[in-house]
């Protein structure tokens, strides 16, 4: 075989090997991400269940367990950020991403319910935001709304933001949507039980919050 042809074949082999190695590395990294998310999700399930059990055991409201409730919400937010990043990397139609999103939504609903129960029992007034979005390309303002909510959550630690993919095929979420009476005009928000639809600007959005809700003081719950 002529030298040039031999070298070209070798170069082709090296190119394929390098591209294959890159593909393997990317796949390995994505699997590691999914494994990390699964581990976090499992831990959050235990924490959530623990809080519920604690609540039931004490019969009266475990108002001294506020710290664990706040921690759970913070960890849930971190899980949400990671899940969102993984969704961008792997695609929103990835089965593992969908499975994790379902579990994430369940954990959010559970945390929301615990928060409400604790608030009722302990007499506190946490500010909660239910945010419904869509990744199906039918929500042009969802990215802006999501970013604004991230800003508000990072700036006001007392704010509890729960994000839901409106189109996720999950029984509990559909029931939750029905119970909270959220229409399919997205983005949709339920701020302390008050519904609003669409997003124009952060300034307008902030006006929908109860007076004094957006403060940087230590959260009451």
């Amino acid at each position: 075989m002529p030298l040039v042809a031999r070298n070209a074949l070798l170069a082709l082999f090296i190119t394929i090997a390098l591209a294959g190695t890159v593909a393997y590395a990317i796949n390995y990294l994505n699997n590691a991400r999914v494994a990390e998310l699964s581990a976090i999700e499992e831990q959050l399930s235990i924490d959530s269940l623990s809080l519920e059990t604690q609540f039931s055991l004490l019969e009266a409201a475990p108002c001294d367990s506020n710290a664990s409730s706040v921690t759970l919400t913070t960890e849930l937010a971190d899980f949400g950020s990671r899940l969102s990043y993984a969704e961008n990397q792997l695609g929103s139609d990835n089965p593992q991403v969908i499975r994790l999103k379902e579990r994430y939504s369940l954990l959010e609903i559970r945390d929301y319910l615990i928060t409400r129960r604790l608030a009722a029992a302990c007499g506190t007034k946490p500010v909660t935001v239910l945010y419904f979005y869509s990744n199906a390309g039918d929500c042009s303002d969802c990215d802006k709304a999501g970013y604004a909510l991230s800003y508000l959550r990072d700036t006001y630690p007392s704010l509890r933001v729960y994000s839901f993919d409106y189109n996720l095929d999950l029984g509990a979420l559909k029931t939750f949507i029905a119970v909270t009476k959220v229409q399919d005009t997205l983005p949709a928000f339920v701020i302390n039980g008050k519904h609003s639809y669409g997003f124009t600007s952060l300034e307008d959005f902030e006006k929908q919050f109860p007076k004094g809700a957006l403060s940087t003081s230590t959260p009451t719950l």
């Binding site: 090296i14 990043y85 600007s201 952060l202």
Partner: protein, 408 residues
């Protein structure tokens, strides 16, 4: 997705260079010891307004380690309008130097005027802004021991790089040393650069001397040599240093001339070389790759520009109304989870790493002195941002039939 095929081709091309460097012909070329033959040599220095550098250039030639009676230096003043004629006068009485004054007719006419006055076996060219190492000629002459070789190129670097742009070009030139060495081993060279390329005089005369060659007479001559079925060799340790443009505009103008010259030659008279099996690596790989590099460089640039603009607009839209102190600061912790390792980015990193390896290899092969670190850094950061400008300009000139002056 559009960029993937080009990244694959870039990796393939660089892998091919690496494999070729390790092949027997290249290894033998690197191991070549200096020959004992001492053919007569004439080195032509075409000058047009080169008053600032011609003295130093000529002095570096006079310092060459070569028998004086076998070495002739021909300074050709191609109708300069500055102090070049006066600068040449100081060499007027030198026994090795011949001075020719002629009306301005272009570099190729200056070279031909020099060739017409000599009977030397080998003729060399040296641009008047270039300087040679003392052993460079012996390295070059050794390559002509092979009777199939009719031309030989040297190893070019930038003369005393000062600013970041010149350091970048120095890295690029050093990359060129590797490429030239590798491709010479499979007779794939298509340019015999102005700084210190040599030819058998009888072959140059047989081929009809230098031509205008769309302002790239060195490339046109090399293509004509290849077209005629001869071989072009490279002497990787024949070090020559050339002045490089110090400004971006100067660089873009110079490279526009080179690139448009390449396109006009290769798409014109020498089109038959592309894809020619008879011309082996040159026809099947080197020339198609060079053409593809121009096309992909422009395409990827526009693609990146589009994606950057699109993402920037989206990012600004999303952040509108959010305090700047939050909007443009990273919020994700340093965590492996958020490592932005996409298929595209990793392939691009591989291309860059192999490029850096090839530059380092070029410096080592040629034994070029100096530190290349700044060159590597500037090459990594700047090169890809500047190249598209001369590619677009040159392609546009060729498409529109626009011709520019040598120095504008």
């Amino acid at each position: 997705m559009l960029a993937y095929p080009f990244l694959f081709i870039a990796i393939f091309f660089e892998s091919f260079v690496l494999v070729t460097l390790l092949s027997k012909p290249a290894r033998e070329a690197r191991g070549r010891s200096l020959g004992t033959a001492i053919p007569s040599v004439a080195i032509i220095v075409p000058c047009w307004n080169e008053a600032a550098t011609v003295t130093e250039t000529c002095n570096s030639l006079l310092a060459l380690d070569y028998p004086k009676e076998k070495l002739e230096i021909i300074l050709v003043d191609d109708g300069s309008t500055d102090a070049t004629p006066e600068a040449m006068t100081r060499f007027a009485g030198h026994p090795q130097v011949r001075i020719i004054h002629k009306e301005n007719g272009g570099k190729h006419t200056a070279l031909n005027a020099g060739i017409a006055t000599t009977n030397a076996e080998l003729i060399g060219c040296l641009d008047a802004d270039s300087f040679v190492e003392t052993d460079a000629l012996r390295e070059i002459v050794t390559c002509f021991n092979n009777q199939k070789v009719v031309a030989t190129t040297a190893a070019m670097s930038v003369h005393k790089p000062e600013n970041i742009l010149q350091h970048m070009q120095n890295a690029e030139y050093t990359f060129g040393i590797t490429l030239r060495h590798a491709f010479a081993s499979i007779n794939g060279l298509y340019v015999t650069p102005g700084p210190f390329s040599f030819y058998r005089r009888n072959i140059v005369e047989k081929l009809g001397g230098f031509r205008y060659g769309h302002q790239t007479e060195d490339m046109e001559m090399a293509l004509r040599i290849q077209h005629a079925g001869y071989e072009i060799e490279n002497a990787p340790r024949a070090r020559v240093y050339t002045k490089a443009p110090a400004t971006i505009m100067g660089l873009i103008k110079q490279r526009t001339r080179w690139t448009s010259g390449f396109l006009r030659n290769i798409l014109g008279e020498y089109r038959s070389l592309i894809g020619s099996r008879r011309h082996g690596a040159l026809g099947m790989l080197v020339l198609p790759s060079a053409l593809l590099a121009i096309g992909s460089g422009i395409l990827i640039f526009f693609l990146m520009l589009f994606l950057f603009a699109k993402n920037a607009v989206a990012a600004f839209e999303i952040r509108s109304g959010i305090p700047l102190s939050y909007a443009f600061l990273p919020h994700e912790f340093i965590d492996w989870f958020y490592l932005p390792a996409s298929f595209y980015i990793l392939l691009a990193i591989i291309v860059l790493l192999i490029s850096i390896t090839l530059i380092t290899v070029g410096k080592r092969i040629s034994k070029t002195p100096g530190n290349i670190a700044l060159g590597l850094a500037s090459y990594t950061i700047l090169y890809g941002l500047i190249v598209p400008f001369w590619l677009i300009r040159a392609t546009s000139d060729v498409a529109r039939g626009k011709r520019r002056g040598w120095r504008y």
